[in-house]
């Protein structure tokens, strides 16, 4: 995982987003055992309490669960993962639309630009 952080947001929410992305993209597959808080904190160079808080958030969202003696795992509930994926996609679309509107584009023009962009990508 790449552990680069923005300045304008809390660190734990950025940790939540990064781990979430790994889960919904399948990089961390359902049922996968996660590294310990301590190891992940060291890897991301963050405070272990901050990493702990991120995991609590992910547990609340149902994306990970902990088993008392054996550690933490990615949920096996694929539906929950797909739901999170959709929510993230909606967020991306929303922020994209907002930026485009700021540039002064109307919805139709945006769709047109997307089509164009797709064609260019194929070439």
């Amino acid at each position: 995982m790449d552990w680069v952080f923005n300045n304008d947001m809390p660190i734990y929410t950025q940790l939540v987003d990064k781990i979430k992305l790994s889960i919904v993209s399948g990089q961390l597959p359902p049922g996968e055992k996660l590294s310990t808080v301590r190891d992940l904190a060291a890897e991301a160079k963050v405070n272990p309490n901050t990493m702990q808080r991120a995991f609590q958030e992910l547990e609340r969202a149902g994306l990970v669960f902990s088993q008392r003696s054996s550690g933490r795992f990615v949920t096996e509930d694929v539906e929950v993962i797909m739901e999170a994926k959709k929510a993230m996609a909606r967020q991306y679309v929303e922020s994209f639309m907002k930026s485009m509107e700021q540039l002064g584009y109307a919805e139709e023009e945006i769709l047109h630009l997307l089509e164009e962009g797709k064609k260019e990508e194929k070439q």
Partner: protein, 232 residues
Amino acid sequence: MTATFECRGLSKHFGATQALDGVNISIAPGRVVGLLGPNGSGKTTLIKLANGLLSPSEGEILICGSRPGPETKAVVSYLPDKTCMPQWMNAQQLMDFFQDFYGDFDRQRAEEMLGRLGLDQKQKLSQMSKGTKEKVQLIMVMSRKAKLYLLDEPIGGVDPATRDYILDTIIRNYDPEAVVIISTHLISDVEKVLDEVLFINQGKVTLQASVDDIRQQYGMSVDEYFREVFKC
């Protein structure tokens, strides 16, 4: 729960100079705290008071409920801002030295960390580069199983890779029962490692807040917020 580190109405003056002025702080176990302030704000004075190297003019300072003395020194591990360890010693001798002085020194932990550093164990401190010396001293200090670690400018004057090593060592030795206080003005380097920060200015603590609360509330990093608060 007793706070690991507590100041109540703590003041210190040197003649007419007020170094600390009515400081109130309380830090619970398990926290990594940044003591942040411009040069001459009172950071080192506060740390020296916690070590019993200075005594308060007014108010009190408590470590795990006790005033600084032999029993608090047994649980406080201190890295001064200036080199303090005997320069003629090599790593082996330093470990013997720490083992003799501190009952909580974990030699195995120190040896492991020194091993990872790939250090020539016979090299004297005086022959080491500044960065290596800082690393070795930090290893000694972090190898004690203390209740309070006081690190005065641990990353000042070393290169970015050495800074990373030092911060990594602090994270890897994290102990939920202990408090780590790091004094520095290199905020952007340390802020990810901290739970909370204390802003200190002209002898007064002007803010005690969590890093993520500051980021949430102001939409900027602690480093940026610090620059705004202490704009010259």
